[in-house]
Every structure is written in C-alpha cells, then in structure tokens.
C-alpha cells in the first residue's frame, strides 16, 4: 500500500504544477480577449462611465497584470471562478450543474468503446494477419475516420427521424415529472444515441491497441510453453495472450479522457444534452470568455483526477509499477 501512496503523492505534486500552468494560460487568454468583466457586466446590466470606473477599481481591474494574476489565483483557491454574464450566476454553480451530465455521457461512452473495442481486439488478435484481423483492423480505422457530429446526425436520421425508435434530442422527456426508476430509464433511453455516437468512434483505439499488444505477447516464450502443454487455443488466447495485453489499455483510459471530454462538446451540441460541452457552445455564442475558461479549468481538473484514478488502478493491478522507485 505504501508503494501506491508514494505514487499518488508524486503524481499529486506533478498535477499541482500542471494545473498551475493551465491557470496561468487561461489567465493569459482572458487578458487577450477583447473587453473585460466590467464591459461584460455593463453590457448586460447597463451603466455609465462613472460606474465603469468604480467597478474597475472595486474588482481590481485597474491594477497591474501581476496583481490581477495574484487576485485570479486567490479567487480560484477559494473556488471562485467568477461571474457568468450569460447566466447572471456564479460560473462555478453553472459549471457544476452541467458536469454530471457530461461525466455520465463520457463515462458510458468510454465503457462502450473500452469493452466492445477490447473484445473485438481479442477477436482480431487471436489470429494476427488473418482476413478477419485485417477486416476488423481496417473497419475500425474507417470508424475512427468518421466525424462524430456526422455519425450523430446519421444516427438521428435513421433511428429518430425514419424509424422513430429513439428520442431525437435532450436528456429526458421535458416536463414529464417522472421519478425514480422511470426517470432513470427515460434518461438512459435519451442517451442511447449520444453514447453510441461518441463510443463507437473511439472503439478503434482500444481494438487496435489490444490487437497490437496481443501480437507482441504471441511471440513470448510462455505462450510457446502453453502451446507445448497442449492447452486449447481458446484458453491460450483468453487466459494467456489477451490477459497480458490488457494492462496497457487501462493507461489509455486515462490518456483518452481529455479527448473524450472534447468529443462530448460536439455530441452534446447535436443532441442538446445540457452538459459542459453544450455550455461551452452557449459561452461562445454569448461571448462569455470567463465562462469558457471556467469550463476549461474544470475539465482540466476532471482529466487530472481521472488520470490519478487510473494510475492508482494501474498500481494496484500491476505490482511492478513504482516498486523500484525511491521516494
């Protein structure tokens, strides 16, 4: 357990630096954006030049860049992300309200691509170089080449417009006042298309990684030994080859999380799922730069936490990780 704790501590220290860089970067982008918080406030609330001056002074915007950066950091330390003009509410509240929907979409899509991708990867990697392998590898590449928003629209045309099997958009039936299990089913029903659109595209990554990993393992001596012992092929494939190729896929889960979050931005806007991505688009439409940067900061923290969780899982699964480190 101490090994895992050491690893977590080291990663936490690294993450703090990384997040600090993200914060400074987002501050720079905020400075580069035309207009500041006061301009935005006056545009939405109204006010004269005198109010502008006093607000600038009150919010510390007439001070030097360094002081403003310090103020920005100080506010963030208190979990204060600023004020959203589009929603006339604190950015933190707006973002945290939308985060669960995105995590639900992202998590389910990741699970779909991970399980289906690695299962198909085992099918392809069981006989490297076979026709089945080539078809699956190239087919998954074709899927990976599909723009997610377009796949989403095609799914909508087929399953929502033509067949009318699934709802066209939204996360639940509006004003249905469903509760409990009925509401859960309703949400799941609404999320079938978004999750498929997002999950099927990233399936190729896991399929190809599984397949490549298995091709490596096939060459190793213990597989030869298993064959020499006369084990059935199915057992060699599953218990020996696939099992040893599975571990790197866990790392991929963490590395992929940022891309998945980015991908859900587009998917959410197609299906009007009220998540972070849809919020980002609303922020762009409302020229609400502080809100946009708040979303980026929260996503960065989310990605860091997911990677930390993956590292811990990895250390628990593989006793070699961190064993040689002196901390």
């Amino acid at each position: 357990m101490t090994r895992t704790l050491r690893l977590v501590r080291r990663r936490l220290v690294g993450s703090v630096f990384v997040l600090l860089i993200v914060v400074v970067g987002s501050f720079l982008m905020l400075q580069a954006a035309p207009g500041d918080a006061v301009d935005a406030y006056v545009v939405s609330m109204g006010g004269d030049a005198g109010l502008v001056e006093s607000l600038r002074h009150a919010w510390g915007l007439d001070q030097s860049a360094w002081t403003r950066l310090a103020n920005y950091l100080w506010a963030l330390l208190h979990l204060d992300l600023g004020w959203s003009v589009t929603f006339s509410r604190p950015i933190r509240d707006v973002v945290l309200e939308r985060l669960p929907n995105t995590l639900l979409l992202m998590g389910s899509a990741t699970a779909l691509s991970f399980f289906l991708g690695s299962a198909l990867g085992i099918v392809a990697g069981a006989r490297p170089g076979s026709l089945r392998d080539r078809l699956l590898s190239t087919g998954s590449l074709a899927l990976y080449a599909v723009p997610s928003f377009w796949l989403a629209l095609v799914l909508v045309i087929v399953f929502a417009v033509d067949l009318r099997w699934l709802p066209i958009a939204g996360i639940e039936t509006i004003a249905s006042s469903k509760t409990g299990l009925a509401r859960v089913t309703d949400i799941a029903w609404h999320l079938v298309l978004p999750i498929s659109a997002l999950g099927f595209i990233y399936l190729a990554l896991y399929l190809r990684m599984m397949r490549a990993g298995m091709a490596e393992v096939w060459r190793q001596d213990f597989v030869l030994a298993a064959r020499a012992r006369g084990l059935p092929r199915r057992r060699i494939v599953l218990a020996h080859v696939a099992r040893n190729a599975l571990l790197p896929l866990v790392t991929m889960l963490g590395l992929q999380s940022a891309q998945m979050l980015g991908g859900s931005v587009v998917i959410e806007s197609v299906f009007s799922v009220p998540g972070l991505g849809r919020l980002a688009q609303e922020a762009v439409a409302g020229r609400d730069t502080p809100l946009l940067l708040g979303i980026i900061l929260v996503s960065a923290v989310t990605v860091v936490l997911i990677n930390l969780a993956v590292d811990i899982a990895y250390a628990l699964l593989d006793p070699r990780v961190g064993a040689g480190e002196v901390a």
């Binding site: 990384v18 860089i21 080539r134 590449l141 928003f149 377009w150 417009v161 891309q259 587009v266 730069t289």
Partner: protein, 274 residues
C-alpha cells in the same frame, strides 16, 4: 522504395484517395470558377436532375458539387498546415527539453502535460472564439494542442541520441550546444516524429470540420463541416445535404490514415532489410 510503400491493398487505396483529393483541390478553381458560395440555381434542387448542377443545390441554392470541390481545398490546407506547424513546434520543444535536461526539461515537460490535460477541442474552441474565426486562426488553434505528441516523441528520441559518439565529437570540436541540438541531433530524431504526421493531419481535418460544424470555421470559405451544419436545418426533407459532405470527410480522413500506415509499414520493412 515505391513498391514497398505500396505493398498492401490498404496503402494503395489510401494513396489513390489522397491523389484524387489533391486533384479535386487543385482543379476546384478551374472546374468551378468564381465564388462557390454564390447562388447557382433554385434552392433545394435534388441531385441528378439538372446536369448543370449534378449534385443539386442546398437551402440557399448553392451548387453542392462546387462546394464539395472547394471544401476539399480547405480541409487539405488546414490539415497540412496544422500538421506542419505542430510537428515543427513539437520537434523544437522536444529537442530543447531532451537536450538541455534538468530544470528546463522538467519545465517544458510540465508545459506539455498541461496542454495535454486541457481537452484539445475545448482549447481550440476557446482560442477561435477569442481571436475570431479565420483560416490561419483555425490552423493555430489546432496546432495549439497537437504539438504535444511530436514533442514527447522527439524528446525520447533526443535522450538516446545525445549520448552517441558523434554528439560527443561535435562537443569536442567546440560546436555551440544549440547548434549541436538543432544541426546534429534534431535531424536524426525526426523519422519517428514524422511517423506521427498522418495521424495529426487526420485529426486536424476532423477538428476543423467540428469547429466549422459549430459555426467557428472561416466564414469566407466552404468547409465540409459547415456544409453538414447547413444541411442540418433541412435534415428531415433533404438529409442528402448533410450526408454527402460527411462521406467526403470520412473518405479523406481514412485515406490519410491508410496512406500513413502504408508509409510506416514500408519504412519498417526497409529498416528490417538493411
């Protein structure tokens, strides 16, 4: 070398697609002169009805085929420019980090981590919305998150190269460290970095399409992503309008992937034989 590059049917298909696309992009101004965004006929003409407008017109009466050809230009230009920019930036940062080592390495790698932590698409979205959409801004926005992969690969490569004899030799001769890094080490570290280029071009084309789909592409150019978004408004009556540019995107990106894999495999075969 060419025979080895074109050894698999997949690589042949990929190369053929890319040649066709390049031809489309180059021929666009000749075959369809003038602004592809101008009105060419009655709105929502179905495809295969009027031979002057083989693929019909969109909601505003624009020639879909002309838009398709001009869209190929945008996609290819953005893909290539973004890949070139991110490979160049990544190679320089990776080489500096790997060659300098110590605190500089640590700082540059944390910077790389930071850029990988922020979802690339969100970063591109924020960048374009702050600076304002134009072709070069879109290219910069894509490169902003795509340079991290090349940087990591370049650094790993430089770490192993800098211990070699010819680097020690260059030091003895008294070459400036920066000169050693960029004239001796970097060229030798490039091949594995360049192997990433097909993936980066493909991702860049997809990101550009998604940005245009969300209305953040260059408004003065035809983009396939923008065409899909435009067709979305008449999805029920004319689904064709959003399906066709999407197919163009899929074929393009797949062509880039397949050709790239063929090139990497061909290089591996060459290496194995020598």
């Amino acid at each position: 070398m060419r025979r080895r590059f074109l050894q698999t049917p997949e690589a042949v298909a990929g190369t053929a697609i890319l040649v066709l696309l390049a031809a489309m992009a180059l021929a666009a101004p000749l075959l369809f002169p003038g602004d592809p965004l101008r009105i060419a006929g009655p709105a929502l003409t179905p495809p295969f009805q009027d031979w002057a407008l083989p693929l019909g017109t969109d909601r505003l009466g624009r020639d879909v085929l002309a838009e398709l050809f001009h869209g190929a230009r945008t996609s290819l230009v953005v893909g290539l420019a973004a890949a070139a920019a991110s490979l160049a930036v990544g190679a320089v940062i990776g080489t500096l980090a790997g060659f300098a080592g110590g605190l500089a390495d640590e700082a540059l790698m944390r910077l790389t981590d930071a850029f990988q932590t922020v979802p690339g698409f969100l970063l591109a979205l924020a960048f374009v919305s702050i600076v304002g959409p134009s072709l070069s801004v879109v290219v910069a926005a894509i490169a902003l998150s795509a340079w991290t992969g090349p940087a990591r690969i370049a650094r790993a490569e430089v770490l192993s190269i800098r211990e070699r004899d010819f680097v020690a030799g260059a030091r003895v001769v008294g070459m400036h460290p920066l000169e050693i890094a960029f004239r001796e080490v970097l060229p030798n570290a490039l091949p594995p970095v360049l192997a990433l280029s097909s993936i980066i071009v493909a991702q860049a084309i997809l990101i550009e399409a998604a940005l245009s789909f969300l209305g953040l592409g260059d408004p003065n150019r035809v983009t396939w992503g923008g065409m899909v978004a435009e067709g979305r408004t008449v999805l029920r009556t004319a689904p064709f309008l959003s399906i066709v540019p999407g197919i163009a995107l899929v074929v393009t990106v797949l062509g880039v992937y397949l050709a790239g894999e063929g090139a990497v495999e061909g290089a591996a075969v060459r290496k194995g034989l020598s």
